[in-house]
């Protein structure tokens, strides 16, 4: 994301914040390491007088992360961030929040296509869905209280792409992939480039509002598996255990179990109406993911990736002796 922003000469300063060191080199952006619920953000906002915040750290995959931490990051993190942005004399004019279509849930009663204003059909049962809903409601309240600040919420469908690892992409990478017996849901994906492009689009255009972001078209899960060359393992649709074996065997997050039964489709026309052009359809996202996968399988691991070294970055960023481009 930051790399994409850096290409824009109109931006004076770009500041990244995260709990982990960045995995890609920045040319002119600076980076601050923060704790998981971003308690430091208030000071940063005051000190730097930023005018736009891109809120992209929300967890949308509960595999390998406790409910407590999900709450801490999504809800408390969002709260801190909004508190900082809403402080008196705040310089923030635009907040972009990256959310997920998980907020719609997945149930048999669902309409075929969720619009941005369609309510859920069943109450949220998974902690991650509840946390996202709560964070979104905080954002809604903030937008109401601060009419002077543009607020954009983007709900992304399941992301697939060459680089990103999600619970779904991890399952599709294995030779065996779980499915629920007798169910073949229709899924919608968004390509990882389109995620960044959508964030850029609303940030640069200063477009407020609530938008679904997903590639056009839907694919049955069996077809996704077919394209990716993995074999589906049907698991019993009924389970006496509280935790379905799906979760244990394939370490899939529990919120995907419903998705693998009923799928989910979203209406993306609202974002398209603002002039956003998708580069990939849902099928294109699957294709882009599997092509990168094939390359990695054939050519081994990609060359050692960039690692963030604080001293080195500081040197490139601030030393007067750096006169040429930093390179990597």
């Amino acid at each position: 994301m930051i790399q994409a922003l850096e290409t824009d000469p109109n931006l004076e300063m770009i500041l990244g914040m995260g709990a982990h060191a960045p995995s890609v080199p920045f040319e002119r952006a600076e980076f601050v390491r923060a704790d998981q619920n971003y308690s430091i953000v208030n000071r940063i906002v005051k000190a730097t007088q930023v005018d736009t915040i891109l809120h992209t750290f929300m967890v949308t995959n509960s595999a390998g992360i406790s409910n407590r931490r999900v709450h801490e990051i999504n809800v408390i993190g969002t709260m801190n961030l909004l508190a900082a942005a809403g402080a008196s004399g705040s310089s923030v004019r635009h907040i972009v929040v990256k959310s997920s279509t998980l907020v719609y849930g997945s149930s048999a009663r669902d309409p075929n296509t969720f619009g941005e204003d369609t309510p859920r059909s069943a109450p949220a049962t998974h902690s991650i869905e509840r946390a996202l809903l709560e964070a979104e409601s905080l954002v809604r309240d903030f937008a109401e209280d601060n009419p002077g600040t543009l607020v954009t919420v983007l709900r992304f469908a399941n992301v697939l792409g060459p680089h990103l690892t999600t619970a779904i992409s991890a399952s599709l990478s294995r030779p065996l992939c779980p499915s629920v017996f007798g169910f073949d849901p229709l899924l919608q994906f968004v390509e990882e480039d389109d995620v960044v492009r959508a964030l850029l689009h609303v940030t640069r255009g200063g477009i407020p509002g609530l938008y679904n972001v997903a590639g056009e078209g839907r694919l049955p899960w069996s077809e996704v598996a077919g394209i990716c060359g993995t074999r589906l393992v049907p698991l019993s649709p009924y389970s006496p255990l509280k935790i379905h074996p799906l979760v244990r065997l394939f370490d899939l997050p529990p919120e995907l179990e419903d998705l693998l039964r009923y799928g989910r489709g979203v209406d993306t026309r609202r974002l398209a109406a603002t002039g956003f052009m998708y580069r990939a359809t849902s099928a294109g996202a699957v294709e882009s993911f599997i092509r990168a996968k094939r390359l990695r399988r054939a050519a081994g691991r990609t060359p050692a990736s960039y690692t963030y070294e604080y001293d080195v970055e500081q040197f490139f960023a601030h030393s007067p002796s750096v006169t040429g481009p930093a390179g990597t």
Binding site: L219, M277, A280, G284
Partner: protein, 293 residues
């Protein structure tokens, strides 16, 4: 500001049965990886073609279906088909869908209770065959935005679950939701009267306790069950099916309104119910034999 990397593509919502892939404007354009032709509703034309070839003998040899006024169904554009619903496991839905797809060559989406989606295998096959769960939003999207034919049975489960003693007595037409959807979508309603469906699988009595245990909407004990044993669940009697398409009913109201007059909606729903009821009686008067028409 424009995104330098974005290339222009002509993206617009597709109205095709099978979504057409929009060119994605990438330098190394990805080839379409799609393997199946399952559309956004879960319907697959290939699956339907297979289902039609299997159902064709049932349709033309077993039920010997006869249509009247099939030409009243439009060749293009959305329309809501509304029919009476009967026979424990109703054969009228597959007969109507098969007939229209065979004669007119255009797909029909059948609305049914979301309950079907929750049954493994059945739910998937149902969706591949053109079944859609009966949500107003789904019907609107199909009718208004995609101009498809949608088949609805406003009686819901009250139709097929009624006893044989009540045969051809149409139940209440829901709460008139089908009229409201047709008004909102700006499409005509085409009533269809069906005879033969009641005799194909007559309901002798129901076992509500069993239905409750199995989580089913109703559990009928049919004549087929008594005559054929468990096989009776699958095999309907070879009653002669006659279907009469009535004149399309249009409403001169503007589409896409938030609300429509409830009294108008209920009146129209009742009028359509009465139209179908009258035609059913008319067809029964003309019918000499249950089995030969």
């Amino acid at each position: 500001m424009t995104d330098r990397r974005s290339a222009r593509t002509d993206e617009k919502p597709s109205t095709a049965v099978v979504p057409i892939r929009v060119p994605c404007g990438r330098d190394d354009a990805l080839e379409d990886p799609r393997l199946s032709d399952v559309d956004e509703w879960g319907r697959s034309e290939r699956f339907r073609a297979l289902a039609r070839s299997l159902y064709e003998p049932v349709y033309s040899k077993w039920f010997r279906v006869r249509w009247e006024g099939l030409e009243k169904i439009p060749d293009e554009g959305g329309a809501l088909l509304v029919a009476n619903h009967a026979g424990a496991i109703p054969s009228d839905a597959p007969v109507i869908m098969h007939g229209i797809e065979k004669e007119l060559g255009r797909p029909v989406y059948g609305l049914a209770d979301y309950f079907f989606r929750t049954i493994p295998v059945v739910g998937t096959l149902w969706a591949r065959g053109g079944g859609v769960s009966a949500r107003p939003a789904n019907a609107y999207r199909l009718l208004r935005e995609q101009g498809q034919l949608v088949l609805d049975f406003p009686e819901g489960t009250k139709g097929p679950s009624k006893s044989f003693t009540d045969r051809y007595q149409l139940r209440r037409f829901g709460r008139g939701g089908f009229v409201e959807i047709a008004m909102r979508a700006g499409v005509p309603i085409i009533p269809i009267a069906v005879t033969g469906s009641e005799e194909a699988m007559p309901v002798l009595f129901r076992l509500p306790a069993v239905a409750k245990v199995l989580g089913l909407p109703y559990f009928p004990v049919t004549a087929n069950l008594l005559a054929l044993g468990p096989l009776g669940l699958l095999v309907p009697f070879p009653a002669k099916f006659t279907l009469r398409v009535l004149d399309p009913v249009s409403f001169d109201v503007p589409p896409d309104q938030e609300r429509y007059s409830k009294s108008r909606v209920m009146d129209e729903a009742e009028r359509i119910r009465a139209l179908i009821q009258e035609s059913v009686y008319d067809m029964l008067r003309a019918r000499r034999s249950v089995w030969f028409g």
